[in-house]
Subunit: 425 residues, 2 copies
């Protein structure tokens, strides 16, 4: 293994490397691969862990005697709200248990803000001349798509290891009343793996904002999704915001999509009781209540908050080796070459790979041509535009380990080939 | 039983009647009743019919091999869409299977129309100076609440036995481009029990509208909810509209809320394929897919479209006697008195009771004071304002028959007492 940085190679050595990688790439083409690292989906083996759900609930009533099969109970099943309140470090009355998608809850909050305004809005956001959102990058593509669909302008700030660049955020929101919100994935961020520190969270909660109704969309999708035994604890944003005099600023979201079933879990919203009332008030115009049978199914399955944590340890056993494999192949194939950096996340669903600037699109294209689907380059940026064309999001949870290995060998070859192409161009 | 119309009674006889009803009412007060005829909820006995759902699905894959536990499949499970396409007389590709609430699907359509406009809109409805909806009355309170929440002005037309007064509708929509839609519950309407005839449906589908993007919200909530063996067939609004050159006019909604579980069923949207694409396009910005496990659970439970029809016969056996009891008590107690008219619906969930104009509010108030909860007077009208204060919606499905009897005795006494009060005032 030659570990000389590409920049230090002679023209001849570079040409040799290019030829080697071209040959390796052509060999890959003959394999007829069909591999997919695009989306953060759990594997069938992970889903199997929750298959007792298929025979639950055993009862049709919750612990308060409510028949879960009938209409009603807009806020969701009390037992399940209590369980997840403990897991999210909030009070049960601050929690709504909803349908199967936290993304839909986020969308609904954006719709309500746009159509009706928030508890602290002067008018509906839709009546403002302009609404802007701060988007730490790289970030979650679906967050950005949602904002784009509503015509909300996106302003980026860097996502650092301890969360968004909070000085940049504070500067943006201090004087611009059109800056109405920020997306944060606080724990094991998609895709950077970052964990928002207590300090950064406290500053986000307390920073002065020109908009009276500034909202932190705190998407805690991976709150419990640890890849090591050292488990990060998410900052308690609701308490921090309340203590700072901005109790209605955060809207927290979570779900069991990557705990029980990806498509048939339960989503949660947590916020100030005023925000909960606001959310339920609008929701109640178009819903008579969520699927409480699925709520009870989950409450029986987990048994307790500790039951959820124990369940997550089983997920870790399945997926941690896949993340280790991503790191192993990248290290062995690209280590010392100075053509890529990547993180080794302590949780979540993604590995963030930064390749030679200007080659991310080429890498994805090369991989696709030999049967390895990667998330399109730029996906982790608003409007799908990565200004440096450097970022690639890898999602290794879904395929079996052997396929992760095979796919990562392809990725490594493509990264090196694209880098050599660029260096010799 | 004295069956003389109140108007024909002498002053003395009227005074006697008033005293008798007052005495009867005071006796009711001593019973300590706690009965509820407010909402169209299925009874526990009806919900029990579907309890095999609690042990389904037996598989985790649909007939095409899709793992229903994972993300994806925005349009819903193919097997279930095919089953309900047959029941709704549409093509599978015209059907979306969603979450547990058709009301939420209607709300989402209104949100999309308001925020983004429809496939045939010149601009989002929210950018129009005014948007109006035609509302046949009496109608479903939640339909009206939804429109009110969005600031959509409601214009009423009478709901006749064969559907809305279509001359009145046609006149309203012909010249007024702000008239953008109409609500229709086509089969066993809430609360009138009306069934929209083929002729009325054809005229609604074909009538010229000043708005290019006029929408019929065709809420077929009770399509299969027959109370007799003579089963009404809903008019095929999609085909009618398509034949009339307005394929995108109707948006059809249905659900299994009153077939399987009220709170944990599956909701459906059916429309032109362009409308389906429009709906899914917007939905996809905030959802990765519906609960396909619940879709498969339902597909396995019913087995086929005929399985759904057979299941509905079991519901009929449970609830038809309750509707018969409502009619029996009203006939025995109020027959010939000329103080009320009511329908004997052939399906659906409601009995529409019209009392002496000006007394509906009083009747509901009197009933409440002795422990019988009725839907607030006016609920079946926009802004909860029944101009004649005459309409009361009775929902007899939830309580056991004995309670229906007891509650209806109270209703009859209150109707008669309020009428006597008014006649002697």
């Amino acid at each position: 293994m030659n570990a000389t940085p590409l920049a230090d190679l002679s023209a001849d050595d570079l040409a040799t490397l290019l030829e080697e990688q071209r040959a390796a790439y052509e060999e890959l083409r003959t394999r007829g691969l069909k591999l997919d690292l695009t989306r953060g989906k759990p594997s069938a083996q992970q889903l199997d862990l929750a298959d007792d759900l298929l025979r639950l609930p055993t009862s049709t009533k919750d612990s308060k005697g409510v028949d879960v099969r009938n209409y009603g109970g807009l806020e969701g099943l009390a037992d399940l709200r209590e369980m997840f309140a403990e897991l999210l470090w909030v009070e049960p009355e601050q929690v709504v248990a909803g349908g199967s998608s936290s993304l839909t809850m986020m969308r609904d909050c954006l719709f309500y803000l746009t159509l009706f305004g928030g508890v602290d809005s002067e008018r509906p956001w839709g009546h403002e001349e302009k609404v802007r959102f701060v988007c730490p990058v790289p970030g979650y593509d679906r967050h950005f798509t949602l904002l784009e669909s509503l015509g909300i302008e996106m302003v980026t700030v860097p996502m650092n290891d301890d969360g968004p660049d909070v000085d940049a955020v504070a500067a943006l929101v201090a004087d611009d009343p059109s800056c109405k919100g920020i997306w944060i994935v606080p724990t094991y961020a998609n895709p950077s793996g970052s964990i928002v520190s207590q300090d950064v969270a406290a500053r986000l909660a307390a920073m002065p904002t020109a908009a009276p109704d500034f909202k932190i969309f705190w998407d805690n999708a991976y709150a419990l999704h640890h890849l090591t035994e050292e488990e990060a604890k998410s900052a308690d944003i609701l308490t921090l915001a309340s203590a700072a005099g901005h109790p209605h600023r955060p809207l927290m979201f979570a779900s069991t999509s990557k705990i029980s079933y990806a498509g048939a879990g339960v989503a949660f919203l947590a916020a100030s009781t005023a925000n909960v009332g606001w959310y339920l008030g609008h929701l109640g115009n178009g819903s008579i209540g969520p699927d409480k049978v699925n709520h009870l199914r989950h409450a029986e399955f987990f048994g307790s908050a500790q039951g959820v944590r124990d369940h997550m340890a089983k997920h870790r056993e399945i997926i941690a080796p896949k993340f280790a494999e991503v790191d192993r192949v990248l290290t062995e194939r690209l280590g010392g070459r100075d053509v890529a950096t990547w993180n080794t996340p302590a949780g979540g669903y993604f590995v963030n790979l930064d390749v030679v600037p200007g080659t991310a699109t080429r890498v994805v294209e090369l991989a696709k041509a030999v049967g390895v689907a990667l998330t399109p380059a730029g996906s982790s940026y608003p409007y799908k535009q990565d200004p440096d064309d450097t970022n690639i999001r890898l999602a290794p949870t879904m395929p079996p380990v052997a396929e992760v290995t095979e796919a990562m060998e392809v990725v490594a070859t493509c990264v090196l080939l694209a880098a050599a192409e660029k260096a010799t161009a």
